[in-house]
């Protein structure tokens, strides 16, 4: 393949290609100018054919709607074309490499979509009699068994709807356990590493705890001496991400677990990075009390543009009694669901969500697990870690890796390598977009300056990684040569160029409004 990267730029000097090509329609080849549905609609158009039934006011309690809702009328072909065109402006895992650190953008298998839509699974009503949903309960129970086995933990709460929701579940279980011990009023301080994802302190605060930050060492791990110095009789627990947000395994994790337990506190583990160790390490063997999993990360359920997710939480013997309702039990008569505190033999802290949990996400995650099997999952985490270390090995001579030694499934760089170039992490990322790569996570974690966190996942071939490496090395060369303007202008080849986020925040326009409103 011809090497296109040397010398000649794809973009005319002095501006973007986009401005030099103006079309009559506004669309440019396959990049369509697509208005909002509200700008396309017309009264009298419809995308569904439903009978026009008159109803009286008699049973509407005097509350019949008098004004119009305001929705636009569109025919079916218009709707299909509209959303098809919108999809074409998006980058997904199906489009290309998506090395977003902490997000685990792995392949989303379509068999998972097929089984989630099966009649008898996708169409079940949550409140149909339990006797008519035994297969559904068995499915949830089977997934729970896989999760407990992979984590080496005795119990799991299945209902949280997302990772942050799982964090809430874990911290509420801890709070309930403290209340049960009569210590909820004295133990209100939670220790959180400064590298933690923002959801961690936000969750602690939502549970009424105060947050005490633990510094990191030069090696990027929790400073265990600083941590021990913060222990005391008012500590409720620690929230630790392991592997941590710098992509590193916390070597002292067992010592940390012992210390927090000796101090009378609990160990919450943020399992967002489980993809590094699934099938190779069981968090239960590390001394944790609870850990949430992100099924939409480690277990491939689709990210869907931001959701839905699921965040089941594994629990130790100490916390299991406090698991929220509802939960599935399996006895001689079959499967049952405990939906109310009064029906429980344990001490559930309450309910976190309507109905039973993200069943559609469960089905997809279980399909993924069964497809891989225990050997496949172990190979997946191995390849994920291999891929990240490969990126590290092939980029570390030109880009500044933040921490020495082996990384786990993601590798952290900082912007030291861009010092004096006039190019920021943001600019570098925008240039990657023009090269057909979704950028890595930027500016997170906050413990290094201008973070670039890359997580390749196991789904990427060596060819893809090699092209990525070559591209980044080339971009870095360009940055070092002093061509900062190139980066400031980027991206130039995308449906939209850089957008004014300041204006969007100063004068928020959060919806379309009719012109004469």
């Amino acid at each position: 393949m011809a090497d296109m990267s040397q010398g000649r730029s794809n973009v005319p000097v002095g501006g973007s290609q986009a401005t030099t090509v103006k079309t009559i329609s506004g669309s440019k080849g396959l990049d369509f100018a697509e208005p909002l549905i509200f700008e396309m609609g017309e009264d009298g158009r419809t995308g569904v054919d439903l009978p026009d039934v008159a109803v009286s006011d008699d049973r509407l309690g005097g509350m019949r709607r008098k004004d119009a809702v305001g929705l636009p009328g569109l025919s079916e072909p218009q709707v299909v074309r509209h959303y098809t065109r919108l999809s074409q402006k998006n980058y997904g895992i199906d489009s290309g490499f998506y090395p977003l650190g902490s997000c685990t953008m792995k392949h989303n298998p379509r068999i998972n979509e097929k089984v989630a839509r099966m009649k008898g699974l996708g169409d079940l009503h949550p409140l149909q009699p339990v006797s008519t949903a035994q297969g559904a309960l068995e499915l949830i129970d089977t997934l729970a068994t896989w999760i407990k086995t992979l984590c080496g933990m005795p119990a799991v709460a299945m209902s949280p709807a997302a990772g942050a929701h799982g964090e809430l579940c874990g911290m509420m279980a801890i709070k309930a356990a403290l209340e049960d011990r009569g210590e909820a009023d004295t133990r209100k301080r939670v220790l959180v590493p400064e590298s933690a994802h923002g959801t961690n302190p936000a969750t602690a605060a939502a549970c009424g705890f105060s947050v005490d930050s633990i510094p990191a060492t030069e090696r990027g791990r929790v400073d265990i001496e600083a941590f021990k110095a913060k222990l005391g009789p008012d500590v409720a627990g620690i929230m630790l991400t392991n592997p941590n947000t710098c992509g590193l395994f916390e070597n002292d994790v067992i010592e940390i677990a012992d210390a927090i337990h000796d101090a009378g506190g609990y160990f919450y583990c943020d399992g967002a990075n489980f993809n590094a160790i699934v099938g190779r390490v069981r968090p239960g063997d590390l001394g944790i009390d609870c850990m949430h999993l992100n099924l939409h990360k480690t277990f491939s359920t689709p990210h869907g543009g931001g959701g839905p997710g699921a965040g089941p939480v594994v629990l130790s013997e100490a916390l299991a009694p406090f698991a929220p309702v509802p939960y599935v039990v399996h006895d001689a008569d079959g499967f049952k669901m405990i939906e109310h505190k009064a029906d429980s033999d344990a001490k559930p802290f309450g309910r976190l969500k309507g109905y039973h949990g993200q069943m559609g996400v469960f089905i997809r995650a279980l399909a993924f697990m069964i497809s891989h099997g225990s050997d496949g999952l172990r190979q997946a985490s191995t390849d994920a870690v291999l891929n990240a270390n490969y990126l590290r090995a092939k980029l570390q001579d030109v880009m500044s890796v933040s921490f020495d030694g082996m990384c786990m499934h993601e590798v952290l760089f900082d912007d030291h390598f861009l010092k004096d170039t006039g190019v920021t992490t943001l600019d570098f990322a925008k240039a990657m977009i023009d090269e057909g790569f979704h950028p890595m996570t930027m500016y997170f974690p906050l413990v290094v300056h201008g973070a670039l966190l890359m997580e390749p996942t196991e789904s990427e071939s060596k060819e893809t990684l090699d092209l990525y490496i070559k591209t980044l090395r080339g971009l870095n060369q360009r940055a070092q040569s002093g061509d900062a303007q190139f980066f400031k202008d980027a991206p130039v080849l995308t449906p939209r160029r850089r957008l004014d986020e300041t204006a969007a925040a100063r004068k928020p326009v959060l919806r379309w409004t009719p012109p004469d409103a």
Partner: protein, 124 residues
Amino acid sequence: MSIKFTNDHEWISIDGDVATVGVTAYALEQLGDLVFVEVPEAGRTVAKGDEAAVVESVKAASEVYAPVSGEVVEGNAAIADDPAAVSGDPAAGGWFFKIKLSDTSELDGLMDEDAYKAYVDGLD
């Protein structure tokens, strides 16, 4: 009229027992373009170190702390309406609130202009 500075990058301009409080150019540079400002309402009592106002840029949010204790005399409605009007220069209009001091001795612990400049140079 004298001007003092805090470790948290607030400036405080004192005139008798009323002080005017704003944030420094250094702080504004760290924040980037401001998109939102919240100022305290008149009549509110604050203690030194209390959170008195909030500034937000697109990517960051920051508290403005009361450098001294007292009663808020006025919050600057102009910057609440137009965050772009905030500047780090005490002489320009970008002040956040005016406060009637309850304990003038609290001013002793604050930095003067040279000390603040040295402090900022030491950061980074």
